[in-house]
Amino acid sequence: MNPLIPLFVVIPLAGAFLIMIIGRFVKEFNKYFASLILFSLALISFYFLFITRENLFVYKVGGWEPINNIPIGIYMVMDGFTAIVVCIINLIGFLSAFYSISYIKRYTSENYFYALFCLMIAGMNGVVISGDIFNIFVFLEISVISSYALVAFGVEKNELEASFKYQVLGGLASFLILFGIGFLYWKTKTLNIADIKGAFSNGYDKTYYLFVQILLLSGFGLKAAIIPFHAWLPDAHSSAPSPISAMLSGVLIKAVGIYVIIRLFFNMFFISEGMSVLITTLGTLSMVIGVFLAIGQWDIKRLLAYHSISQMGYVVMSVGIGMMLISKGVRNEVAALAIAGGIFHLINHAAFKGLLFLNAGAIEYSTGTRDLREMGGLAKAMPVTSATSFTASMSISGIPPFNGFFSKLIIIIAAVMAHFYLLAALAAIVSIITLASFLKFQRYAFYNEDPNKKKNSIKEVPFPMLFSMIILSIICLLLSMLAFPGIREAILMPAIDILMDPSKYSSQIIGM
C-alpha cells in the first residue's frame, strides 16, 4: 500500500476549507496557498508517473483487508492510465490557479473562487483514483457541483443561465449514473470495479447487462459532452471565468467523462462488439458535427468549446476502434495503436485546449471583448499571447512539429490499419476544417486591422498569466516527444497494457 495515494484527495480538500477560514483574516493567502498545494500535488503526480510503470498500487482506505479475496473496504487504485490522468489534472490545475492570481482580480469574493477550485480538483482526483464505482459517483458530484458554482461565478444573466442549463443536464446525468450503479449493485452485491468484473464472469443476463451499460454510457456521456449529449457544454464553458474554462474543457470532461467511460468499458464490463460500434459511432459523430458547429462561431470561447466536443470525438472514436478490434480478438497490435492514439490525444488536448482558453482569457482581460469581429491587430500589442496562441492553434489543427500532429497521425494510421478507411478520411477532413477555423481565429484576433483603432490602450497581460501560457506552450512542444520510442514505452505503454488485457486489472486488484 502506497500511503501517498489518498493525498490527492486529502490535500486539496483540506486546502479548500483552510482557505475559507484563514483567507478571511489574511489577505492574499488564498491565491498563493492554492497555487502552492496544486504545485505540490503536481510533483506527487509526476512521482507516480515515474514509479507506476508496470506496477499497480492499491490503497485500502481505513485498512480494511479483503476477506477470502472479497474486497470489503474502499479501494484506491493507481495504475499507468490513472497516473497519466492525475498528472494532467494537477499540472493544468496548478497552471490555471497561478494564472488566476492576476485574472481573478476582476471578480469579488476570491476566497470562494479558490475554495471551489480546490474542491473541484479534489473531486476530479477522487474520481480518477477511486477503484470503487460508488465512490466515483460521490467524487463526481463533488467536482461537478463545484463546477456549477464556478460557471455561475460572474453572476450575470448569461452565466446564471448557462449554469442552470448545466445543472439540469448534470443532474440528469447523475441520476442516470446512480440508477446504473444501483442496478449493478443489485445484481452483483458489490461495488468494487474489479470485483464486479469477477461477479459477471460466472454468466449474466444479456438484456440486463446491456441496460446497465447504456445507462452508464449515457450518464458519463453527458458529463463528457459526446454529441447527442453536448447541449450544455458551449454555454457552460464559455460563461465560466477563463481559468475555469481551461479546467472544465481541458480536464473535467476528460476526468469525469472520458476516463470513466474508458475505465468502465475496458476494465469492468466485458468488451462486446455492439457497445464498441456504438462508442465508435458516437465518437465519429462528435468529431464531425462538433467541428461544423464550431466554424461559424464568432465568440472565441464558444468556438473553443465546440472544438472541445470535436477533439473529444477523436479520442472516443480511436478508443472505440481499439475496443472493436479487441472484441473481435484479431490484430491486437493495431488495437494497441488505436488506444495509444486516443490516450495520446487526450493528453495533448488537455495541454492545448487549456492554453487556448487561457489565451482567450488574456485577450478578454486586455480588450474586454470576446467577439472576434471587434478585435484585431493584437499581435503587436500582445506578442506573448499571440505567440502562445499560435502554438496552441497549430497544435490543435495538427501541424507537424507540435503535439497534435503526432496524435492525429497515430489515430489516422490506426484507422487505416484497421480498415476503417472512412473514419480515417473523416479524421483528416475534420483536422483540415479545424485548421481553417483556427486560422480564422488567428487572423481576426491578431493580424487584422483593428476596427476600433484603440491600439494604444491595449497592454500585455501581467506576469502570472504570461508564465502559465508560456509553460503550457512549451509543454505543447515537448509532448510530441511522447510519440518517439523510448519515451512512449515509459509513459504511454503502461496505460495501454492495463486497457489491452481485460482481465489484468481485476485479477491484480483482487490478488492484493
Binding site: M1, P3, V10, A14, L18, M20, R24, V61
Partner: protein, 145 residues
Amino acid sequence: MKGMTLIVKKTTQLIAGMIFMYGIYVIVHGHLTPGGGFAGGVIIAGSLILVTLAYGGEFLKLVKEEAGTTIIESMATIMIIMIATAGFLFGTKIFFNNFLPKGVVGQLVSAGVLPLYNIFVGTEVAASIFIIFLSLIIFKEESPQ
C-alpha cells in the same frame, strides 16, 4: 426580519432547548443507536432555524451570524480531515484508521474514533443547513420588494 407574536416566542423558548438537546443526544449515540452525525445535525439546525424564525433579527446581525457559521463549518471539516490524518500518523499509515481503544460494545464511550467523527459531522451538517437558511433570508432581505 421581523419576529413573530408573543405566543410563538414563548413556545419557542420552551421547546427549542429540548430540540437542541435531542439533537446532541442523537449525535453522541450515533455509534449505538440509529441516527448519528447527519440526523442529529439536521435536528440541531432545526432548533436554530426555529429560534431565528420566531425572534427575527437585524439584517446586519444575520450577515454577521452567517460569517461566523461559515467558519464553524469549515473548522468542523478540517477537524474531520485532521482525525483522519491522525490515523495516518499514529501507526499504520492508513487514513481513517481507528487508532483509539475500542472499549466495550454498548457503552457511550466506545468504538474508538467513531463518536468523534459523529460529533464533527453533526457540527458540519448543523452549520451548513443553518447557512443555507440564513443565505435564503439574507437574499430575501436584500432583494427589492
